[in-house]
Amino acid sequence: MAPDVKSAGGAADTAAPLLAGLPDRGAPGRLLRWDLLVGLLLVLVFIGGSVGSPGFASVDNLSFALGDLGEIALIALAMTMLVVAAEVDLSVASVLGLSSALVGTLWDAGWAIETIIPLVVVVGAVCGLVNGLLVTRLGLPSLAVTIGTLALYRGLAYVVLGDRAIAEFPQQYASLAVEDVPGTPIPYPVALFVLLAIITGVVLHATGFGRSLFAIGAQEEAALFAGIRVKRIKLILFVLSSTVAAFAGVVFTLRYGSARADNGMGLELAVIAAVLLGGVDFDGGKGTLGGVIAGVLLIGLLRNLLMLNDVSTEIQSIVTGLLLIISVITPRLVAVIGQRRRRPSPVPSPTPPAS
């Protein structure tokens, strides 16, 4: 990276000692450290797991653990962009359920899976359009809107399929959702995730669209005044998030070989926990995709470890909840402490009056 020019006027009257010396990667240093912290925690959990639970570090188990994470990870990519833009979508798990129910019903009605998948994804996009229009056109808070559609879409899933369960999907598709890419221990959904994660990372951190998301999240009004199409971008994000969720619903259904209306119940919490744990500020404008991926893996490994040790799902849920709270509180604590330290920072001296 090129060295920074010193002040054009020669004076360095606006020094910010706290920020000096941190790696200059565009992201504020505090968050970079948070990313690293989560990464470190991930390594610790991995080492701890390998030592404490025989079988944890085996290729089979890790492959299973990763596969088990597929839907959460996929949805977390879209959710990261939403949260960076200071919005949130709580309806994703319900869209997943609706998608699963549709796959089941249509398959049961004798449709071809090649027709079903695109159709279901389109339905997902429509769900996202509804969320997005309610948020951008009516100016409603996304938290409230998507709590509403969380119930609505789950309800629709039950309307579509009732409490039946449809199984027996065609073998070649079912195996796509569980099998590994030939010659590797990587399940197809994971490979897909890696591909999408790279795309999302580039979009978020290197394109104008990504820049716009950070600007919207940090200061929506300033973004609007800079000519950024705030509403359109938000609408796109909501459509994207539901589309991905619907696709994740297909993956989920094929992976378990079971279409049910209650598939993926509560999954949105794991997704949001992973995003926040990854260091994305719930108020928007801050975060990195790398952190989120570390967050997703951390949650996945922890859940896998707990499962291996026969810890009940209740406890697993408690652990997820605690992680969520810790990940929201910690950056704030750090910020408060940082402010305390920053307080005696020098007031910029005035420029001398021009002649």
Binding site: D4, V5, D24, T207, F225, A226, G227, P348, P350, P353
Partner: protein, 514 residues
């Protein structure tokens, strides 16, 4: 107990009956960093007088009010209550001492009734510490009667007009036995009838022995309501004198009176084609039928009182807000409504009023803030080139003589003047044909102010069309080729540079006839 106020030679004359002023400032100075907001200011408020505080924006009026209200503590000098020195540690202390401030737009609890708002936190109690609603209602009704206004104590505060809200605030002040009422530009958002009603209330209070400190930009109101007036200029005390015997011109001269030459380097320019043409632009309830043109090479000022609708016009022209009727043309090309993106690509740039909320993303770096308006230009393939982004930022940082440490520093560590330069860089880097700049030098130091003025002058000379909104009259007169004046949402005057004076602009802005 007749104690002479701290500074015996206090500005004006003996109290009517020899009593000390209810509230006084004696030689008060207050600085914020390097900015000296108040310099040795003295002010005496006597019971039964309405006292005006006059001065331009930035003269120190708000600091003075906040010192009296216990928000700020003076660096030197004293606050005197009934002739005795006091120290207000907080606004609550000042309230306790009987000092009440009525702000331009009061904050109410919208879901509580008027009576509940008045007695919030001090509700009359009946047995078992229950709130005595009847007593509360009766006492509120009594207060309104004393003020001579018809307001229903049971009405919810939601939906009250600003004028009514102010009356509720005054009633609240009375319920606390306030003896000093400070009104900070109360009339800025009121209609003619509402102003008359407010003045009747103030006159009644004055007759009941309250001291009133009244701030207004409308000079007519000062002459109508007040007995004495204190003028501030650049944080210093200029005069305290009876209103009777003063003319508008006298007062304006006291408020302004400074050498404009150095601070306003105005170049002679060649006026070219019409670059911005606004035709009968209307946004209902905000501004009506606004038409004007700005030509290349011209600096046109949009003057008027706060709330006259100037910034709103700018927002609509740039597309941040929708308009209901009318047209906006840039270089002869009609803009679609409500699209900043279209406005930008047509060659329009807007440096907004509120630097911290609208102009900059405060947490983001200098280079990102400058780059955000040029995301297309910075693209190499699908991704943003960091090198290009940095070059663009560095280029403008040097041109604007930005004082910074690193381009990757967040803009919130910069001083106000340097932040303003970042906003300017952000917009000038789009190479606009028309620059709308809202309050170009608000809250920035004198040195940078002159730099910004020189820059604007240079830009106009280079063929840019500049529309400058400013509440700083000397700036308007010093920089503008033409002055457009807005009043209550309408364009009421267009004054060429030769005829633009403090008086002519102020008169048009206040709708005065003097």
């Amino acid at each position: 107990m007749v104690t002479a106020p701290g500074e015996g030679e206090a500005p004006l004359g003996p109290p009517p009956d020899g009593a000390p002023p209810v509230l006084a400032l004696a030689g008060v100075s207050k600085a914020f960093g390097a900015v000296q907001a108040l310099r040795e200011v003295s002010l005496n408020l006597y019971a039964g007088e309405a006292h005006a505080l006059a001065g331009e924006n930035g003269a120190g009026k708000s600091t003075l009010v906040k010192t009296l209200a216990g928000v700020y503590r003076p660096d030197t000098g004293r606050v005197l209550l009934d002739g005795e020195p006091v120290e207000f540690g907080s606004p609550a202390d000042a309230q306790q001492a009987g000092v009440a401030v009525i702000y331009q737009e009061p904050t109410m609890f919208p879901d509580l009734s008027v009576a509940e708002n008045i007695f919030i936190g001090r509700q009359p109690k009946a047995a078992l510490r229950r709130i005595d609603r009847r007593a509360m209602h009766d006492r509120a009704a009594e207060l309104f009667e004393r003020l001579g206004v018809a307001l229903d104590p049971e009405q919810p505060a939601r939906g009250l007009s600003i004028a009514d809200q102010q009356l509720v605030e005054i009633a609240k002040a009375l319920s606390r036995d306030a003896r000093v009422l400070i009104m900070d530009e109360p009339t800025a958002a009121l209609s003619g009838n509402e102003v008359t009603r407010l003045f009747n209330v103030v006159k009644a209070l004055r007759e009941q022995g309250c001291a009133v400190l009244f701030i207004s930009h409308r000079l007519d109101e000062i002459f109508e309501l007040c007995q004495r007036v204190t003028t501030l200029r650049d944080g210093g005390w200029i005069a305290s004198e009876p209103v009777a015997g003063l003319t508008h011109d006298d007062l304006i001269r006291r408020m302004v009176g400074r050498d404009l030459d150095n601070l306003y380097p105005k170049q002679e320019t060649e006026v070219g084609e019409v670059a911005l043409k606004v035709g009968r632009l209307t946004r209902e309830g905000v501004f009506t039928d606004v038409s004007f043109e700005v030509r290349r090479g011209e600096i046109v000022a949009l003057a008027g009182l706060v709330g006259a609708g100037r910034s709103e016009v700018a927002r609509a022209v740039f597309g941040v807000d929708r308009w209901d009727a009318g047209t906006v043309e840039v270089n002869g090309e009609r803009l679609p409504p409500a699209s900043p993106t279209a406005a930008m690509s047509a060659g329009l740039a807007l440096v907004p009023e509120d630097r911290r909320q609208q102009g900059l993303v405060m947490d983001h770096s200098i280079e990102r803030n400058i780059g955000i308006t040029g995301l297309k230009a910075l693209r190499r393939g699908p991704v943003i080139s960091r090198a290009a982004e940095r070059d663009r930022a560095r280029d403008w940082a040097i041109r604007l003589q930005l004082k910074f440490n690193r381009l990757s520093d967040a803009v919130n560590v910069l001083s106000g003047g340097n932040q303003q330069k970042v906003v300017l860089g952000k917009w000038l880097s789009t190479k606009p044909d028309v620059l709308i700049i809202d309050e170009p030098t608000r809250g920035i130091d004198v040195g940078t102010k002159a730099e910004v003025h020189r820059l604007l002058s240079q830009l106009a000379a280079d063929g840019l069309a500049v529309l400058m909104i400013s509440s700083d009259l000397p700036e308007v007169l010093g920089m503008a080729d033409r002055v457009l004046v807005m009043q209550e949402g309408r364009l009421v005057a267009e004054i060429p540079r030769e005829r633009a004076t403090e008086e002519s602009v102020m008169t048009a802005a206040t709708g005065g006839t003097s």
